[in-house]
Each structure stands twice: as structure tokens, then as C-alpha cells.
Amino acid sequence: MINIVIYRLKSFKKCLEVIIDMKKLAARINLILILVFFAGGYYVSVNQIEPLSGLIKQLQEFVYLVTSVEAYACVYYVSLLILLFSVFISLYAAFEGVSKKEVALQKEIKLLKEDAEDFENKKVEYFTEIKKLNLRIQELQISLEQKVSADKYEKLQAEAEENANALEGAKAKSDELTDKIKKLSQKIEDLNSEKAKLTEQERDLSEKLKESQAQLASANANLKGGKDTVPPAAYQILYLLQKEGRLIDMLHENIGDYDDETLGGAFRKLHEDLQELIKERFILEPVLNEEEGNTITLDSIDPDSVKVSGKVPAEGPFTGELIHKGWRLKECKLPEMVDGWKGDVIAQAEIEI
């Protein structure tokens, strides 16, 4: 019996020890679980709830020495073990999760650090490159300056030498050539002067011929006028009257078939054009600047400018009615003809292409 008691005490002690050994949380859980377990066991045994009470009884019967408390304890241990195991497993799993995250973070940090380092390196590289370039530019500038002056000097020297050589050669050649040229130009001059003399003579002669012919013709025409001779100005005046005022066309047209309105309209335009031409080319003024119809008295009469009619006395003064004022050509502004009038055309034929 004592043995049993000792054993029970021992086992209880063991039980306590286990509970104490457990960590605070586990102990609390255990405590709650123990209470729940005992309460459950009590509830099961009091109310005889199957199959648990049956299981406990069978366990009591199978191991006699075991009291119902011991049997409970037994079951409890087993279930506690399972529970502990599961707690341990779950805790372990949780720990592992945390550490995994940490590892991932650390990895990331590491990568970032590497990147930063890379940047740093690159920056340094760029700086050195820029420095190099700057140095290069300076070098280039310096070399450029040196080059310019050195090149200049060399070139000038070489040029000077070359020039001197060339000069000598050229001198000799030019002497030779000048001699030749002199001879040739003498010949050319001789020939040219001969030729010039001849052409001059020829031109003079033909010009004289032409001039005298033209002079003869126009002198004839201007002096006598009349049959077979046309002064150049006659062509020119007819040409202008036709060109500007279509006078020849107008006078040659058979106007009998046109009504007065058509005629009036057409004539108005032609009258306008001809008036313009006369005003522009021929400056006219009246011979006697008096109102027509007035009675006037003249002491003497120049028959070229005043025509008298009616009962004319032999001597002046002449008194009578002014019938027509007369016109005097004060100025003639015809275009200057360069070579007289060529041919006999006063209005060209026109063709539109």
C-alpha cells in the first residue's frame, strides 16, 4: 500500500515537475487543460457519458491497481503529450515563418546595398572620365596653339623658298616669252592696223554712199513733196494716226450699214484716242487768239498765216469778222527715227499664235 502511495506521490510529483518545467504560457495552458480535463472527467464519470466512461472503466479493469484518478492521469498525459507536441510543432512553424521573412528582407537589403555600391563606382568612373576629357581638351587647345604657330612658320619658310625658286625660273621664262610676244605683237599690230585701215575705208565709203542716197531721197522728198517721193515723217505720222487712233481703218470702213448709235459709240473711243495723240505729239496753238465771230483789225497781213476773203482792199488796215482762228504747229514731238523709215509699211499685218 505504501509502495502504491509512494508511487502515486512519485507520479504526482513527476506530473508537477513536468508542469513546472513548462514555460509560463504552456503552464497556464496546461493548468487550464488540467482543470478542463478534470472537470471533463468528473462530468463524464458523474453523468456516465459513453464511450469515455466505458473507456476509463475498461482501463480500470485492465490495470486493477489503477484508480480512476490514475486512469484519468494516464489519459491526460497521453493527450498532454499530443497537445505539447502540436504546440511545439505550431510554434516551430511560426518561428520558421518569421526567420524566412527575415532572410528575404536581408537578401533585399543586400541587393540594394550592392546597387548603391555599383552607383558609387560608376559615379567615380564618370568623374574620372570627365576629368580625362577636360585634360584632353586642354591638351588639344595647347597643341592647337603650338601647331598653329609651328605650322605657320614652316609653311611660310617653305613658301618663301619655293617662291624664290619659282621667281628665278619664271624670270628666265618670261624674258624668253616677252621677246617672243614682242615679235608676235609687232606682227599683229601691223596686220591689225592694215585691217583697220581697210575696214575703215570700207565703212566710210558705204556710210557715205548710204548717207548721200538717203540725203538725196529725203531732200528731194522734203523739198518738193508730191509724186513718187515720201518724206519719212509722212510714214511716221500715218503710222501713229493708225496705231493710236485707227484712223486709216476708220476712214476705209464702209459705215453706211451701221446705225448712229453703233457709230457714235465707236467714234467716241477713236476720237478720244486721236485727241490724245494730237495733244501729246503736236503742240498746236491758234494763229489769232480771238473769239471767232468777233470783228478784228490787222494792219498788215502775212498770207502764209492769215487768209482774207470777201472784198479785200489793196492796203491795210484790214477789218473783218474772224471766221476761223487758224492753227499753228508750235512744237512737233515725234519720236526720233534712228535710221529713217524702212520700207513702206505703216501698219503691220498681225497674226496671233
Partner: protein, 600 residues
């Protein structure tokens, strides 16, 4: 060189050229009003039928000879006819005539030294460059002068050439070069509106000092045959004397009196076509002459309601072939007055050519005929600028034959007054006494007298600001151009005779290559200072010709070597702009030339 005996003013008009001159009188007092009388040269020109005639006006036409024999004493072997006969033949053979050469000279879209004129002529035709054409005209004037004054060659006289105010630096250079090609090595330039202003100053019936006062801003409106030009001149005072400052110029507008005649000719032609009558090209030219006369009658004679326009038959049946229609007062009022001077608000802008993307390469004719809208834009530009008061002129000076018609002057004054009243300003004053058609060449001569100390001088200086394009250094990125900064190399108004050095900016140029800069101008950036670097380039900058300098090897420097240079800018006495690159080491200079060959 013999001492100059005459001051000569050459008006290089778009359609007509005039040369006026006056004797230089030495030792007289300094009053311009007592200056010698101004005369016009009678310019010898070819006529049909081997004839030569003289006229005060040289029509600006060049015709490539067909079989016409040269008759002028100085160009017995010339392939081209210049002047009246050229215009006449040009109407008959349009493919062989060059007109508006002056406007081609400032067309940045073409190579102005390349033989491209007549522009639409056949390829077989002999072509010449706008520069050559201009040189031919000047050369013709030079020879005509020699006929009149065999002892006083034109190259020995003091010659002043007029140019549109809107000509940019490159076009000005070309005029000077053309004069050089013609043998006139030293000419001065003057802007046409300024010349008109001088002409107004020189007249005595309405003394100018009584018409304007200190602080007035005068708007000069110059509508010529083919171009319209605006300028603003400010009256200032110093030492008790009135001074004149040209403060703004407009842009080049190809629009003028000829457009009005053409408008009426189209109306008349349409009317004839509607009546079933066919009009040939030759007849359209005649119609245009008739329409001009009709316009002048209707604008001056307020009683007539319509004027008949008649085109004679081309064949020998002159009366039977006559076709007739009329131009009515309504036509003129609706199409000319309303078309060219419509009432508009100061905010109206002239219509742009919408088809610009596919537009044929040609002269940049104005897309909108409304002179009043072009003027609105010009004044509006001034208001947006530092000197707002320039947008509200106090007085107006008209020039150009168009303004002989009172109705145009009155209409333009009414329009400007409506703008001024809207802003609470006084109405504009019309300056009296200018002779409208030959004022420019007269004014040029007066300018010549003013330069030699006989009379008041307008201070003009550079007409607009100029910039070199500087590329911002940055690493290459494909498909992305480095941004451009603008370096101001000429400030608007910088006086002639200035020599300026750009500080703090140097450039590395490579020997053996062509240094190249893009070149910009602007006429509404008054606040930019010389040498200033403007980082953001907006629409107020307009690109013109490239500036380039050949960099040949020199002084031991060879191809590929790098030179450090600084920029120096010279505004010459004759009014041109020169830019030099100066080596920092040895002061060697390279001139940057306008590259008028490549279109901007």
C-alpha cells in the same frame, strides 16, 4: 572722281520708274526751302519702228526681243527692250515680259539671283534673275542720264534710290548690289513713305511746321500702282527744333491702283461675256485702260452715273468690230470703294490665303484687297507693343495716285476716325500740300539735300529688329531639333552709321566650311535690346534669308581648324545691315552675307 554736281533721286516703282535731280549749290544758306528746283529726267526709251522717244516715266517692264532691232545708242547688242515699248509688246506677247521685278526682289521663297524671270515664261526663253532685272533698269537710267549730261556721269553724282519701307535687310542689300552691277558703286537708300514725307516738307504752300506739332504721330499711307506701304513718323522736339522719327513700318503688301483697274476690267469683261461677246487677252488690256479712265471720270465728276467703255475691233473693221459696255457709278462704289476701303473695325484682320499649302510659287499677292483691313492690322500691331500711342495717329499723309480721288481719302479718314473715336481719341488731321504722284522721287532729292545739311532730316534707323538664330547646345535626340534662341543683332530704330559689338557671346566656327545662321526679323518687338538672347521664339518672329559666310583657310589656319569669333554689327550710312564675325585671336573678319539663293 569729279565732285558731284547733282543730287539724283531714283524712284524704283513697281510699275513706273522716275528719276529726278537738282543741282548741288555750294556755299548757300542752310534753308532747304531755298534749295534748287527739282527737275525730272526725260528718259530715252525705245519705240516701235526703230524710233527713240523720251518720257519722264520709265515703265518697269523688260521684254525679251523677238525681231525688234535695238535702236538705243548704248545697247546695240542688247537682247532686251526696257520701258514703254516693252510694256506695249508685253501686252501682246505676255510670256516674254518681266513686270513687278521689284516685288520679286523681296520674295524670300525664290532664289533672287537665279534666272527665273519671266516667271511663267517658256523654258526656251532667255531668263534673267530679279537682281539682273533691277540692275538693267538702273543701268538704263544711267545711260539715259549720260545722253542728257555727257559730262557729268551718273556714277559721279549723289544718287539716292527709294525702296519700300517693308524691304528687309536682304532686299535692301540686293538693291545696292543691283546698283553696283549697273556701275553705281555708292548709292543711298531711302524708304518710300519717308521720301513722300520729305516731299511734303519741301512744299511751301502749306508750311509743314504749321500743320504738325510736337508729339504728333503721322501715319503715311502710300498706295502705289502695285504696292501699299504704311509708316509712322513721330514729331519730337529737341533744342527748340522739331525733329522727325520714323517709328514703325508695315509689311510688304502687293496691292495697289492696278488692282482697282483690273477689278473693273473683269466686271466689264463679265458684262460683255454675258451679252455673248468674246473678249481676247489683248482686249482685256485695252479694257483695263478704258476702265481706269472710266474710274477717274466717275470718281471726279459726281454728275455722271455711268461711263461707256469701248474696245475697238482688232481687225481692219474697226467700227464694226467695236464692242461696248459701260461702267456705272454703282460698280465703282460697290467694288472699288467697298472692295478696297470697306468700313471695318480696328480688330478686323485681312483674310489670309487659305490655300497657302498648295499655292503656286509666285509673287505673294495680297489675298485680301481691303486696304483698310491691312491698315487696321498694322495699327493694331502697334497697340500691342510697348508704345501704344503709335496705334492712335494724330495726322495722316496720303501718297500715291490712287488718293487723287477725294472719295478714297474721305473714306479712309472716316474709317480711322471711327477707330479713334471708339478709343476716345481726337479725330485724325489730314496733312495738306503733297503732290500725289511724283512725291517719292522729289522727296528722295530733298533727302539728298537734307543729308548734306540743307534741311530737316527724318531719323529712321533700322526699320525692324533683326535676330540671328542660335541653336541651344544639348545632347542629340533623334527626331527632336535643338530649340532655337534669337540673338538680337539690330534693334529697331538703331541709327545709321552705328558699329556695335555683341558682348558675352562667342562662337566657334570651322575653317573650310560655310558658317550658317538662320535669320529672323520682327516689326513688333520694340523692347528687345541689342545683344539680348531671347529664349522663346513665338509668332512675332518672321524668318527671312539665311546668313552665311564662306570661311576659307588663311594665315596658316587650314580646313577643319576651329576659330573663336565674336560678332560685330554695322548699320551702314546708306541704310544696309552688315554682320561680321571677328576672330578673337587676330581680328580677322568674315562678312556674313545674305544667302538669297535658298528660300526661307
Amino acid at each position: 572722281m569729279a565732285a558731284a554736281k547733282y543730287i539724283v533721286g531714283i524712284d524704283l516703282g513697281t510699275t513706273n520708274m522716275v528719276l529726278s535731280y537738282s543741282r548741288i549749290i555750294s556755299g548757300s544758306d542752310n534753308e532747304a526751302d531755298d534749295g534748287e528746283a527739282i527737275n525730272y529726267l526725260l528718259i530715252a526709251q525705245e519705240q516701235p519702228k526703230n524710233a527713240v522717244d523720251t518720257s519722264e516715266v520709265l515703265p518697269a517692264f523688260i521684254f525679251e526681243r523677238l525681231k525688234e532691232k535695238p535702236v538705243l545708242p548704248w545697247n546695240s547688242d542688247n537682247d532686251f527692250i526696257i520701258g514703254e515699248f516693252a510694256r506695249e509688246r508685253g501686252a501682246e506677247v505676255p510670256d516674254r515680259v518681266i513686270s513687278s521685278a521689284k516685288s520679286w526682289l523681296c520674295n524670300t521663297r525664290v532664289d533672287r539671283t537665279k534666272a527665273i524671270l519671266p516667271f511663267n515664261g517658256e523654258d526656251s526663253a532667255k531668263k534673267i534673275s530679279p537682281l539682273q532685272a533691277m540692275a538693267m533698269f538702273i543701268s538704263h537710267l544711267k545711260n539715259a542720264w549720260l545722253q542728257e549730261f555727257p559730262k557729268d556721269k551718273l556714277e559721279n553724282q549723289k544718287v539716292i534710290v527709294t525702296i519700300p519701307a517693308s524691304f528687309d535687310a536682304a532686299a535692301r542689300d540686293l538693291v545696292v548690289e543691283a546698283a553696283k552691277m549697273a556701275g553705281l558703286s555708292s548709292v543711298s537708300l531711302i524708304e518710300e513713305p519717308q521720301a513722300a514725307f520729305y516731299s511734303w516738307i519741301s512744299q511751301k504752300e502749306n508750311p509743314w511746321r504749321r500743320q504738325v506739332k510736337k508729339g504728333d504721330v503721322v501715319l503715311v499711307v502710300d498706295v502705289g500702282g502695285g504696292t501699299t506701304d504704311f509708316s509712322l513718323i513721330e514729331i519730337t522736339e529737341s533744342d527748340g527744333e522739331l525733329n522727325l522719327d520714323r517709328v514703325a513700318v508695315g509689311s510688304h503688301i502687293l496691292l495697289g491702283g492696278d488692282n482697282m483697274d483690273l477689278t473693273l476690267a473683269y466686271i466689264a469683261a463679265k458684262r460683255l461675256e454675258d451679252a455673248g461677246k468674246k473678249i481676247s487677252r489683248w482686249q482685256t488690256v485695252q479694257l483695263s485702260h478704258q476702265c481706269r479712265k472710266a474710274k477717274e471720270i466717275l470718281l471726279s465728276d459726281s454728275e455722271k452715273d455711268s461711263v461707256p467703255v469701248t474696245v475697238s475691233g482688232r481687225g481692219s473693221s474697226v467700227i464694226g468690230g467695236t464692242i461696248k459696255t459701260q461702267i456705272t457709278r454703282e460698280d465703282v462704289e460697290n467694288n472699288i470703294v467697298e472692295g478696297f476701303f470697306p468700313h471695318c473695325s480696328i480688330n478686323d484682320e485681312p483674310a489670309e490665303d487659305t490655300a497657302s499649302g498648295v499655292r503656286e510659287l509666285n509673287l505673294m499677292y495680297a489675298a485680301d484687297a481691303a486696304v483698310s483691313k491691312h491698315l487696321a492690322k498694322f495699327l493694331k500691331n502697334q497697340m500691342n507693343d510697348a508704345h501704344k500711342e503709335y496705334g492712335y495717329p494724330n495726322a495722316i499723309l496720303f501718297n500715291g495716285g490712287v488718293f487723287k480721288a477725294k472719295i478714297f481719302r474721305d473714306r479712309l479718314v472716316a474709317i480711322i476716325d471711327s477707330w479713334l473715336t471708339e478709343s476716345g481719341k481726337d479725330q485724325i488731321k489730314v496733312l495738306e500740300g503733297i503732290e500725289l504722284s511724283k512725291a517719292v522721287s522729289r522727296g528722295a532729292v530733298y533727302f539728298g539735300q537734307a543729308v548734306s545739311g540743307k534741311g530737316i532730316r527724318i531719323r529712321g534707323g533700322v526699320s525692324q529688329s533683326y535676330y540671328l538664330g542660335i541653336e541651344t547646345p544639348m545632347p542629340a535626340v533623334p527626331g527632336f531639333k535643338p530649340p532655337l534662341k534669337a540673338l538680337c543683332v539690330a534693334k529697331q530704330g538703331t541709327e545709321e552709321g552705328s558699329v556695335l559689338k555683341v558682348e558675352n557671346q562667342s562662337f566657334g566656327l570651322v575653317i573650310g566650311k560655310t558658317a550658317e545662321f538662320r535669320f529672323f526679323k520682327s516689326n513688333c518687338r520694340r523692347e528687345d535690346e541689342f545683344g539680348q538672347l531671347i529664349p522663346d521664339m513665338d509668332e512675332s518672329f518672321e524668318e527671312t534669308s539665311l546668313m552665311t559666310a564662306e570661311m576659307p583657310a588663311y594665315d596658316g589656319l587650314k580646313a577643319g581648324d576651329l576659330v573663336d569669333v565674336e560678332l560685330e554689327v554695322v548699320i551702314t550710312e546708306i541704310g544696309t545691315l552688315e554682320v561680321y564675325c571677328i576672330s578673337k585671336d587676330n581680328e580677322h573678319r568674315w562678312r556674313l552675307e545674305f544667302n538669297v539663293r535658298e528660300a526661307a
